[in-house]
Symmetry: D3
Subunit: 136 residues, 6 copies
């Protein structure tokens, strides 16, 4: 149960600004399926529009990182933040982009190790080595 | 200032189990430099040994993910967990493994977007779409 | 499913210290409804009493901030901490205090932006500008 | 020490896309001061541009929430996320927008209470009351 | 619904490395019950093996801390990280090791207080007193 | 640098409600030293008073948990929340209450393991076993 309503297609049809974003989501993904995140955001068309444009620029556009790598980074952040929905949706995206079981296993192993060492470093309050500083 | 002492090389010399790990760190990395994280862990040789063996298995050994990709995943988790030391040390590692400024910029963009959508999804408590469920 | 039992009204009746708090909750809120948080805390009447007194002082008493603003701040913290129950209960409270859809949308937009910039700042480890320091 | 370089004004001058954003920041804020966050983002002009446009839309534009309230929500999220820089910069912004000591004290009290109850609720895994669900 | 499959006993039987860990879990715990965490990890036998060995060394082996105290520390971390599964499984473990209702109540009270003061300290950015520094 | 002023003893003298709390802190701890957390809270005497009374009830009063165990639980929560000040102050308190190096090492090992398994469980979204549910 969400704290906002999830808009149906017919409700979105009645909001031109939201409708335009839904059309672009479907065209970009070549699929009629629009997941709940966008249906929740559709309550605020300006927020929907900004978020979709940012997602297209960061996750869809060509860039220096492979799209699958970007999905795995997304899963890593979402795990540390405990976002159930995000973990599910981006694990599904990563699989759709070809993530193998072996790659998923290694992703989990790195996330687990980072979770462990993050806690150890923080509990010990280890000072940053001078060698790691960026030269200006 | 740490909550434990950072052991010097001469102190580590006096603890055979810690000395063996430091020797392996130096041999594996082909460098005499041992950063503060290991000097802090050296207070508990068993914890030092387990952590180093895990790091070697997860971050150094050959696998299905490129070592640079693993470093970027590590940075992503460490950022969401707010671990200053870890962000510095693994950003330095990623650069040493060839991360370009363009790749770093995209890593930051994905981390920022995930941070944003994680918060939006959580505040709206969006339910997971059935389409994202793993088939058993 | 909770990790403690949720006490029923008849069980609370049998614990005078818990009964007194439940009576005050009902009188303060002018409603017979007592939500699950208090039923869980009732297992430890001293913790129940301290928590309710603090909530009354911070969220109910007259003060320098509008009660609706306090609810929105509560939602913001609860979102960043990923507390599903708290997000639901305080979003309901905010709506009961008059939060409009437009205000909710802006609250979400600020929470999302803060989530994004928090992650960007942390990943880049931006040093605090001298201009932001408090003068002593 | 940041993990990216903080660009100086003369370096920004050499990047037209970044220069345009810095000019707009100065014009919007009616101040020559540009804080370190933007100097760090300037390494990636597209990320700088998107982030500034979003911040203007969410924090500066007229809306349903008072700009001071938005700053307090920002501080709340940044506190729960442990973002030192963000807490400093937005506390300074809130003060510049008229936050009194009494308002700051109440903001802190709400943040502290939410931190406490978030942890209690999570440790007890309290189920959401049906009364809090959004009607669809 | 998990993002990986939960392996059944017959599936685990077919993976010798996973089977050996399951056998050791059962022998160590003197129980045939193997909880879902291990069934999820069984997809990656090396990660399963490392995690179980670490858990045995840290949580089961004799040491300087009482096993019940270790379980309560585990619950504390899991609460702050918002890990629903971990809170449930380790609260059950703590109860199996003799945690009384009074001890659970105090554990909750400390977790709640720490959650509150963590947020207050962070929002106020209180500098560490020199008296708290470790002498080197 | 804090976001509020740290009140000096002479400033506290001028605020009777704050002065009374400082006197009780000194009497309770049998020490003239009052650390920065209380000097920051003294800006809001009501918040100072409530927080100190809660800390006395939870951390100082006799109870079912040893005071050293409570300090270790506090450190565990503060680590997961990344509260530098709290980690330093409560590690110092734990040492003052007799925490040995071996106990500190085990505390760190449990915190690290919980950090790791919290992340693994969350990334895999493991469902809670029915066996862990509280019987009502």
């Amino acid at each position: 149960m969400a704290t906002v309503r999830l808009l149906t297609d017919s409700e979105v049809e009645a909001i031109p600004a939201a409708k335009a974003v839904f059309d672009d989501i479907r065209a970009t993904r070549k699929s009629d399926f629009v997941n709940n995140f966008w249906r929740a955001l559709a309550n605020d068309p300006a927020l929907l529009e900004r978020t979709w444009q940012e997602l297209k620029a960061v996750m869809v556009a060509d860039g220096a990182l492979d799209p699958l790598v970007r999905e795995m980074i997304y899963i890593a952040v979402s795990t540390a933040n405990g976002c159930t929905y995000c973990i599910h949706s981006h694990t599904a995206s990563a699989r759709a982009k070809g993530m193998t079981d072996a790659q998923h296993g290694e992703l989990l192993a790195v996330i687990g190790l980072a979770g462990k060492t993050n806690h150890l470093v923080t509990a010990m309050q280890v000072p940053v080595d001078a060698a790691f500083e960026v030269k200006s």
